[in-house]
Symmetry: C2
Subunit: 213 residues, 2 copies
């Protein structure tokens, strides 16, 4: 398998975590978003949406959208499971993942921030306030969702799930933009539990071959 | 079952379609987003995220996030299937749904538009341009994704799927904001095929009890 991705892309990071948790080997193909490599024709042929991540299977089939990729990986490589077996539990894990993937992340991704700066002439400070507002609002909703469930080591239960694959990159992004993370005890406990695992360590931006730090 | 929802909410509309396609009866509980009913304490007790839709099961369990709800419905009421059986096909359907649910809709929902107007003082014209920009960009990506697959009546294959549940409300929204929909032949053909079905007709905003038109 090949993963077209970018060290700092949080959707890429989600898939890297899933691959690492499942112990699956893959070729890391960097696509430098900040340099606009995702807009070049060569990448357009690979990713019709012009977005990372794209997972290319050994037969050449290409899959897009991080949550769809992770569900695919979970179906064809079911151990360890990233989505639980019970339908209600599955719905809870997916809802947690979607609070991040559908409520927080899309409003704050690179192209939206660029539109704010270039088209709407929003200054740097107001852009950062925007960023922190959506992260904070979303993580507070995430915390309330977690608080509905029983105590757990990770977002749901005692092993990492799709929800943790989404949470961890979002916390990395929140920190990059100095978003306050106080008052989110369940959320941050799940984050800390994840970061104690080698899979999350291996997948993080600073461990990527295209990391620039 | 009870569905807490709003006639014009496109995430609510997705779930109404799924319920109608499966022929499942439910109590329609309107939550008037434009009047801020979702921010009142009574609804906060029901929906910790303060968002619609919320599906309340007969035992009181509440599920949030439209795509998680639809996958749940598909698991417990598998006929007709809204997600195909093959893992690659499942990934394609989910990716199509996510192009809409993760790339287009979140950037254009009511609270984001309100933030643009109230916090960033973006005028009506620029706000509408923003709206149409993300819808158009997203639908063009959606069209390119559809074009990768074989000809089909709906977004994927010859029966409606999760992807169609997401597409149809997005096209309704696009039209409300006068977004050009030319040059999207596969997308609009799938939309038209959906709207020829009673389930999509029943679920549309104008057929809802809280519709104000």
């Amino acid at each position: 398998m090949k993963l077209y991705n970018y060290f700092r892309s949080s959707a890429s990071f989600r898939v890297r975590i899933a691959l690492a948790l499942k112990g699956l080997a893959y070729e890391y193909v960097p696509v430098h978003l900040a340099k606009g490599e995702h807009k070049r024709p060569a990448f357009g042929d690979i990713a019709v949406e012009g977005l990372v991540p794209v997972l290319e299977l050994d037969d050449g089939t290409r899959l897009s959208q991080s949550m769809a990729i992770i569900e695919y990986l979970d179906e064809v490589h079911p151990v360890p499971a990233l989505v639980p077996a019970d339908p209600i539990a599955r719905a809870r894990v997916r809802a947690l993942a979607q609070v991040i993937a559908c409520e927080i992340h899309p409003v704050n991704n690179l192209r939206v921030l660029k539109y704010l700066s270039h088209e709407l002439k929003v200054d740097e400070q107001a852009k950062n306030t925007w960023y922190r507002h959506w992260v904070r609002t979303g993580l507070e909703a995430f915390e309330r969702q977690l608080a509905l469930g029983p105590t757990s080591t990770f977002c749901f239960g005692d092993t990492p799930t799709l929800a943790d694959c989404c949470l961890v990159p979002q916390i990395f992004n929140a920190r990059r933009f100095d978003t306050p993370l106080d008052g989110l005890p369940r959320t941050m406990a799940a984050f800390d539990a994840c970061m104690a695992l080698p899979a999350f360590q291996q997948a993080q931006p600073s461990a990527c071959p295209d990391n620039e730090a």
